[in-house]
């Protein structure tokens, strides 16, 4: 079996191998959607790369020794083959240390509840092979935090070491947000909803920035636009990581996306909903006029 999975690989679409996020990205890429390039370190990679095939890590997890498990995960020498595979896959994403996002991708089904247990880490704008490898280990380590172990002891299994990691080229988003292919608040299938901010979508996640809110007809025509003034944007920091960029009132107070982009989003959303058979919650970003789909999952209403 390959040590890292490409989105185009058949088994990358399996949750068991690539985790929820990884499998979803593989399916999106497979559906022909514009997904930024990336790769997945599969769920079994950590145990396989440990010198004892994970025996000690299993024992630590079963004892709920969070500190011991995390020390092992962050410090142990892994099989060199995995290192080489990660570095090669990373190099293929672009020259000059292309900035990437490194994210946990859990295999457990109730991954929403699991995120409360702090099992889902995300590192944005990571640059350089060593940094990428360190953040992969940080993702693994998060799977063995005290809260995560407590959660799996209660709700899952302590034998579960199934945590994949997704590495994906960062989109230097000029604007980003979420598209719902229905109106989840009013439970309407004849409408779509777009939320949009300037810069990375992360600005809206914390609630610190209230995104613009657009209601679209299914054909993409804007039915209602509610514009919110955005005080700052989250953008990539040249040095790695992200930073805040303050926005002047005329920039932050203007519409974040135009009618054309909204129509394009509606088209992509409609196509994806028809392929997957249920309303979708889609994370998107736009860079230099190019639209990218970052993630999609069924809408829970």
């Amino acid at each position: 079996m390959s040590l890292v999975l490409q989105f185009a690989d058949a088994d990358c679409a399996e949750v068991r191998r690539a985790g929820g996020k990884g499998a979803s990205l593989a399916r999106l890429a497979g559906a022909g959607l514009p997904v930024p390039p990336g790769f997945v370190i599969p769920a079994n990679a950590l145990a396989d790369a440990l010198p004892d095939d994970g025996a000690e890590l299993h024992a630590l997890a079963r004892r709920r020794d969070a500190e011991g498990a995390r020390k092992l995960v962050t410090e142990v020498e892994l099989h060199p083959a995995l290192r080489e595979a990660v570095l090669a896959a990373y190099a293929a994403l672009g020259e000059d240390d292309a900035p990437v996002a490194v994210r946990s991708s859990a295999c457990a089904e109730d991954s929403d509840a699991a995120s409360f247990a702090g099992q889902q880490e995300t590192f944005l704008h990571v640059r350089g092979g060593d940094q990428v490898r360190a953040r992969i280990r940080d993702c693994w380590a998060s799977f063995f935090s005290e809260r995560a172990l407590f959660y799996r002891a209660e709700k899952g299994s302590l034998d579960d070491l199934g945590m994949a990691v997704v590495v994906q080229r960062m989109v230097q988003a000029d604007a980003a947000g979420v598209l719902f292919t229905c109106d989840p608040v009013h439970n309407r299938r004849d409408r779509m909803v777009v939320e949009a901010v300037i810069g990375l979508g992360e600005a809206a996640v914390s609630g610190a920035v209230t995104p613009d809110h657009y209601v679209l007809r299914r054909d993409g025509r804007v039915r209602r636009a509610r514009v919110h003034e955005q005080p700052y944007a989250i953008v990539a920091d040249e040095a790695g990581g992200v930073m805040r960029r303050e926005l002047a009132p005329d920039e932050g107070g203007a519409r974040k996306v135009g009618d054309d982009l909204l129509a394009q989003l509606a088209r992509i959303g409609d196509e994806l909903e028809q392929q997957l058979g249920a309303p979708q919650d889609i994370e998107w970003a736009v860079q230099d006029g190019e639209l990218y789909v970052l993630q999609a999952r069924p809408v829970t209403t």
């Binding site: 509840a113 608040v185 004849d190 809206a204 209230t210 039915r223």
Partner: protein, 577 residues
């Protein structure tokens, strides 16, 4: 009681503003229109306004009782909101009204002397109702209602044609009309018996402040429903497997967890589904057709049990406390009353106490049970119209007007109903952006003091004026509806017990541990989260207006502030106090 005439002194007028424009028809300006936030605080659906209103049978009530203070009660939809006005018994009055989409002239007596002369009739018959209504109810009226329910509940709508359902709808409308007529008789009978008790207490020198406590009921359908849920809770608490199923994030997930085991499936069959059948003919808002009933979706039952589990609700103790207090009030009111007075008081008290269960029971049978049956017929028609390709969703049907629906039942291709419903749904959402003033039209002294006005807070609300806003916080609309209340900021789980019934919860974010609070609060504001985040999904499940993703609501709203949460526009206003 004062007789309202148009000569009465005018205290104020509101014929509309730019923010809330009103189109007036003949005679409407002269009336005093109250925003019916008591029954229909949210923008009304077209179909409910046409066929579901409580006002439709009021002319019957006023005629039957010979009330001198009003002859009819009419409704007007303004920018989506329902306003109603009592029509005085004034032959000079020429106003327009609408029922079942038809224009009509409210019934006023031709005889100008009517209002002055009919009062003795009312005074004469009220004691008859007071003395006998409970017997009529038990022997005749409640069985009649139950027979009507059985007819509607047993109707096989799945195999019926659209036109057979069209006829069923007319039956449901007739039944609705009849049950609401009974409702008003019951109201007057109850009013007469409490007024009689009040009067006797006053005459024998008793303490009139005991009246409130003497209205308690300890045996009715409301207590039956609570006992049923409490028994479910007792079962859940005694079984760790059931208890762990109830820790899931949403009601749907609880049901899924229960469905995964024999024990859980037994609880669903014996407790949840049986509760749905017996007590489930009700919705979050009774005076509307668009809200799912408990019998259709068990989520509120699951959440009620969850709330009882979390607080270990003690039904027997609660019932005992109410019962003890009622017994104490009965003793106190009889204290030091002797001889013939004592006998008179005992008789009035007995009569009034017998009527107490009618308050919760008439809600169960009429406001909730009857309106719920109307919805089920309408939604059954909606399903047929989806099958016929006329609509996308059975729920769409409430966004049609009565005659549009009838045309569509006759010919599902009569017009583009889906497109019309889309526009109507948009209008309905946009209606939330306007704030409905408490009253419109002409406020005269007697109009604002109309006997029933107290239900809506008049005349005090007239003098208090409209609230003003001192600050506005924008977030994301997460669960439609508008609510005003007292804010309570909660940072940690150990502050949960500070939350009071009816508070508006302000917090950073919620997760499954917070769900116990949702049974208490009436509005929600969070700093984080989006349209499908935990607080948004659960608020919709509970039908609680919610605004999420406000960023800094916790800094700007202090516990104790009066706030207005608009879950349809995503705006939270801080009101001047």
């Amino acid at each position: 009681m004062a007789v309202t005439t148009r000569d009465d002194e005018v205290l104020g007028t509101n014929f509309g503003t730019d923010a809330f424009p009103v189109q007036w028809r003949e005679g409407e300006r002269d009336l005093f229109w109250i925003y019916d936030d008591l029954h229909i605080p949210n923008p009304v659906s077209p179909l409910f306004f046409d066929i579901g209103g409580w006002w439709l049978s009021c002319d019957h009530m006023f005629r039957r009782f010979g009330t001198p203070f009003a002859c009819d009660w009419i409704a007007k939809e303004v920018n989506g909101y329902v306003y109603t006005a009592a029509v005085p018994c004034d032959p000079e009055l020429h106003a327009e009204a609408t029922e079942y989409e038809n224009r009509y002239v409210p019934r006023v007596p031709r005889d100008p002397e009517y209002a002055g002369e009919i009062g003795a009739y009312l005074g004469g018959v009220l004691p008859i109702y007071a003395a006998n209504f409970i017997d009529w109810w038990r022997a005749r009226l409640r069985p009649e209602i139950e027979r009507n329910f059985a007819y509607l509940d047993e109707f096989d709508d799945a195999d019926a044609s659209l036109l057979e359902l069209a006829v069923l709808l007319e039956d449901a409308i007739d039944i609705h009309d009849r049950h609401w007529k009974i409702h008003w008789m019951l109201n007057f009978a109850q009013f007469a018996s409490t007024q009689n008790l009040n009067q006797v207490i006053e005459e024998v020198g008793g303490d009139p402040s005991l009246m409130g406590r003497l209205q308690s009921s300890v045996e009715d359908r409301n207590w039956d429903a609570i006992e049923d849920l409490w028994q479910a809770k007792e079962e859940v608490r005694s079984d760790p497997e059931l208890q762990s199923a109830f820790e899931a994030a949403t009601a749907a997930e609880v049901m899924e967890a229960l469905g995964g085991s024999d024990r859980g499936r037994r609880l669903i069959a014996e407790r949840i589904e049986s509760h749905q059948r017996t007590f489930g003919y009700k919705a979050l808002w009774s005076h509307e057709l668009m809200y799912k009933l408990w019998v259709e979706d068990p989520a509120p039952i699951v959440e009620a049990i969850r709330g009882y589990v979390a607080t270990d609700y003690d039904y027997p103790a609660n019932l005992r406390a109410v019962s003890d207090d009622l017994e104490a009030a009965k003793r106190e009111v009889m204290e030091d009353v002797e001889g013939e007075d004592r006998e008179r008081l005992a008789r009035a008290l007995e009569l009034s106490l017998k009527m107490n269960p009618l308050t919760p029971d008439h809600h169960f049978f009429v406001d909730q049970g009857t309106n719920a049956r109307l919805r089920l017929v309408v939604i059954a028609i909606g399903r047929k119209l989806v099958e016929a390709g006329a609509l996308d969703d059975p729920e769409d049907v409430v966004f049609l007007h009565y005659n549009e629906l009838r045309r569509l039942m006759a010919d599902p291709r009569a017009f583009d109903a889906a497109e019309l419903v889309s526009d109507r749904r948009d209008e309905h959402e946009e209606a939330f952006e306007r704030r409905a003033p408490a009253w419109l039209g002409t406020a005269t002294k007697s109009a604002i003091e109309f006997p029933y006005g107290g239900l809506w807070g008049f005349p005090d609300r007239f003098y208090a004026g409209e609230p003003t806003t001192s600050g506005e916080i924008k977030g994301l609309p997460a669960s439609p509806g508008v609510v005003e209340g007292t804010a309570r900021y909660v940072a940690e789980l150990d502050e949960f017990d500070k939350v009071q019934e009816g508070d508006i919860l302000v917090c950073r974010m919620t997760n499954p541990a917070w769900v116990v609070l949702f049974t208490k609060i009436k509005g929600l504001v969070t700093e984080a989260g989006g349209a499908v985040s935990h607080p948004a999904v659960v608020a919709r499940e509970f039908g609680i207006p919610a605004v999420v993703g406000t960023g800094n609501a916790g800094e700007r709203i202090a516990t104790g502030d009066r706030v207005r949460v608009n879950g349809a526009t995503g705006v939270v206003e801080i009101l001047e106090t």
